[in-house]
C-alpha cells in the first residue's frame, strides 16, 4: 500500500472566547490522503470543514490530535519549526476578490512563496512568474497586471499557480469555485485535475457541493458538526449514500432535469442545525435524523466500514453487510404535481 502523504488523527479544534461558550468546531476528525489523491471534504455551514482546512495549513493550531505530513507531525509545531516545511503545503481560498493583494502585481504575487522559501533568486523572479502563468494556461505577459484588472476566474488561476509554485506535497482548496460563475467553475476544476496529474500532489478539496466533489475527488468525507459521518470512494458515497445525512445531502441537490427532479422524492430534514457550541450528545445528527432512536442519543456511533470496499459510516442503522437505512422522504407527494 502506498504510504500516506497526509495522516490526520483525532483532530480537534475549539475556540474559546472569554465570557462566551466554547465553540467546538472540529471534534475528533481522522482521515488520510495518499499521494496524488484528492479527498473531498463535504459539509454545510457549521460543519467545521473550513476549520479542518485551516488546521491542516497550520493557520490555526489544533487543540489536540496529530497531523502528519510525510510522516512528520506538524500539528503542534511552532511557527519557526514550520517555516522550512511551508513549501510542502499551500492553500487556495474561496473569495477571488480578497485572495490576492490588490497592491501587488500578479508577478510579485506569484513568486512570493518561492522567494520566501529561498527557492528562487530575485533576478530569476520574472522568469519564474511567467513560467507559472503558462502552467495555468495564461498569457505570461500578465505578470505586470494588477488583480483588479483580471476576472474572478483568472484570479483563481493565479491563486492556484501561486499555491503550487513550491511544488507542495499537499494542496488545500477551500471552496475555490463557490464564488465563481457556473461557466467558469469548470475551468478551475479541470485545472486542479490537470495540475494534480502533472505534479502528483495530494489535495484536500473543501466544498459544500457534493456533486462537484463527485467530479473532482477520488474520495469524499462528509462532515457534520465537526465529525466525519461518512468517508469512502467518491462514487460510492454519492451513488449509494449510507449515512442519513449523506442521503439527505444527496437528495437535496436539485438535478438540472425537470422531469427527473420532479419525480424524485426529496428528504427534508426537520429542525435546525444545533449550535457548534452546544453539540448534541453521542450522534451529532440525531436531532434532525428521520430515523433517530434512543441509542443515537446515548451511544456514539463508530465510524467504520462494514465491508472492506465500502465507505466507513458512523451510524447505528447501517446493516452488517453495509446496506444503508431507508429513509422515508418527508414529502408524501411528489415534488410537484406536474
Amino acid at each position: 500500500m502506498k504510504p500516506m502523504v497526509v495522516e490526520v488523527e483525532a483532530l480537534t479544534k475549539s475556540f474559546h472566547k472569554p465570557g462566551l461558550l466554547t465553540v467546538q468546531a472540529v471534534r475528533g476528525v481522522s482521515f488520510s490522503i495518499a499521494e496524488g489523491e484528492i479527498l473531498g471534504l463535504v459539509g454545510e455551514s457549521g460543519s467545521g470543514k473550513s476549520t479542518v482546512g485551516r488546521c491542516l495549513a497550520r493557520l490555526l493550531r489544533p487543540t489536540s490530535g496529530t497531523i502528519r505530513l510525510d510522516g512528520v507531525d506538524i500539528g503542534q509545531m511552532s511557527e519557526r519549526e514550520l517555516r522550512p516545511r511551508r513549501s510542502a503545503m499551500n492553500m487556495v481560498f474561496q473569495d477571488p476578490q480578497s485572495s490576492l493583494n490588490p497592491r501587488m502585481t500578479v508577478g510579485a504575487i506569484l513568486v512570493e512563496p518561492l522567494l520566501a522559501q529561498g527557492l528562487v533568486k530575485r533576478r530569476e523572479a520574472i522568469a519564474a512568474a511567467q513560467e507559472l502563468l503558462e502552467l495555468v494556461r495564461m498569457d505570461p505577459g500578465i505578470h505586470v497586471r494588477y488583480p483588479h484588472q483580471l476576472s474572478g476566474g483568472q484570479r483563481q488561476r493565479i491563486a492556484l499557480a501561486r499555491a503550487i509554485s513550491t511544488r507542495p506535497r499537499l494542496l488545500i482548496a477551500d471552496e475555490p469555485t463557490s464564488a465563481l460563475d457556473v461557466s467558469v467553475r469548470g475551468a478551475i476544476g479541470n485545472l486542479i485535475l490537470d495540475l494534480r496529474d502533472q505534479f502528483s500532489f495530494s489535495a484536500l478539496f473543501i466544498t459544500h457541493d457534493i456533486e462537484l466533489a463527485a467530479h473532482l475527488c477520488d474520495r469524499i468525507a462528509v462532515i457534520y458538526l465537526g465529525r466525519i459521518v461518512e468517508i469512502g470512494s467518491a462514487s460510492e458515497v454519492v451513488d449509494n449514500p449510507r449515512h442519513p445525512y449523506t442521503q439527505a445531502l444527496v437528495s437535496a441537490v436539485p438535478v438540472p432535469d425537470p422531469v427527473e427532479q420532479r419525480a424524485r422524492r426529496r428528504i427534508v430534514l426537520s429542525g435546525v442545525l444545533p449550535s457548534p457550541s452546544r453539540p448534541p450528545p453521542a450522534c451529532p445528527f440525531h436531532t434532525r435524523c428521520p430515523i433517530a432512536e434512543e441509542v443515537c442519543r446515548t451511544t456514539d456511533p463508530e465510524l467504520f466500514a462494514r465491508r472492506e470496499s465500502q465507505p466507513a459510516v458512523a451510524c447505528h442503522f447501517v446493516a452488517e453487510d453495509g446496506t444503508p437505512p431507508r429513509l422515508v422522504p418527508a414529502a408524501a407527494q411528489a415534488v410537484s404535481d406536474h
Partner: protein, 334 residues
Amino acid sequence: MTAAALEVEGLVVRFRGRDRTLQVVDGVSLAVAQGEIVAVVGESGCGKTVTAMATVGLLPAAAEVRATAIRIGGRDVYPFDRATLQQVRGKDVGFVFQEPLSALNPSMRVGHQLREVTSRHLRLSRREEHRRMIEYLDFVGIPHPEQVARMYPHELSGGMRQRVLIAGAIICDPLLLIADEPTTALDVTIQAGILETLHELRRARQLSMLLVSHDLGVVADMADRVLVMYAGRIVEAASVEELFARPAHPYTRALLQAMPTRKSDRLVEIPGSVPSFEGPQTTCAFAPRCPRSTDRCTSHAPELGAFAAGHRVACFHPGPAEAADPRKARTELS
C-alpha cells in the same frame, strides 16, 4: 379571462456613471400568467436582478428605466409614480431577496416587521393583524410561531429568516411573488425545505412567481417556463421541459453542460467573459465565446424568434447540431 400577473414590454435599463453609461437591460419583454412560475436564468451581470427590480421601480435613481409597458394584474404601473408604486409593493407584489439578514431590520422583532406590512396595506384590527401574522408564519413552516414572532432576526437561523421573508412577502396575498435568488445563500439541505414551502404556496394559493436564479437545478425544480438571459437580453424562452430537453441557444447548451452531473466526464468550461454595452446591441453579445459564430453574428444582433412550438431563441444558428465540440478545453485569454 384573468389578466396576467405581470407583463413587461420593451424594458430598457441604463446606468449612468461619471464617464460612461451601461445598458444593462436591452429590450426585455416577459409575462407571468396567473398561477405560473417563470424563471429568469443567467449568470452574474446578465441583468436578471435588474429586470426584476425594475418592474416595481426598486432601482436607484441613477438607473434610467424605460419601457413600453409594465402591468401588474392588468394595471399599468409605468410610467412610475410614487403613489401607485407604494400601493403595489407589498400588496400586489411580494419580494423575497437573496440575503435575509440584510432584508430584515435587525432592531425590530420579527412579528412586528410582519405587522408593519399588513398595517400599511390592509385594514385590520390589532387582533386580526396578530392572527394573520401567526397564520402566515405557521404556513411557511416556522415552528412555534408565537415564540418566533417575538424574536429578533439575528436570533434565527438563515433558513428561518428566509421563511420569515417569504411570510412577509405573501402576507397581503399578492398576485405575484418576485424571488431573487431566494435560496442561494442557504445550505442545500435548508434550500430543500424552502423549495418545498414554495411548492406548497403555489399549490395552496395559486401564487404566480417570477423566480430569478443562476441555479439550473432550482429552476428545474420550480419553474413552468424559463427565460435565459445573457448580457441584458433574453436569448431563449421555453417551457422548462422543452428548455432542458432541447436547448437551442449555444449559451444555454453550454450552461447545461457546465453543471457537474454523473454523466459527464470532465467539467465543461466556457472561456471568455460577459461583455458590457453602452447602448443597444448591434451584434450578438455571445459571439466572441460561441463555437458557432459566423460573420453574420458579428454584424447583426439576433432577435427572439420562433424555434419550435412555445420555444423562442435569439440566435442565427440555433439547434442541436454542434459545429464544434464545446468540451474542447481552451486557453484562458487575458
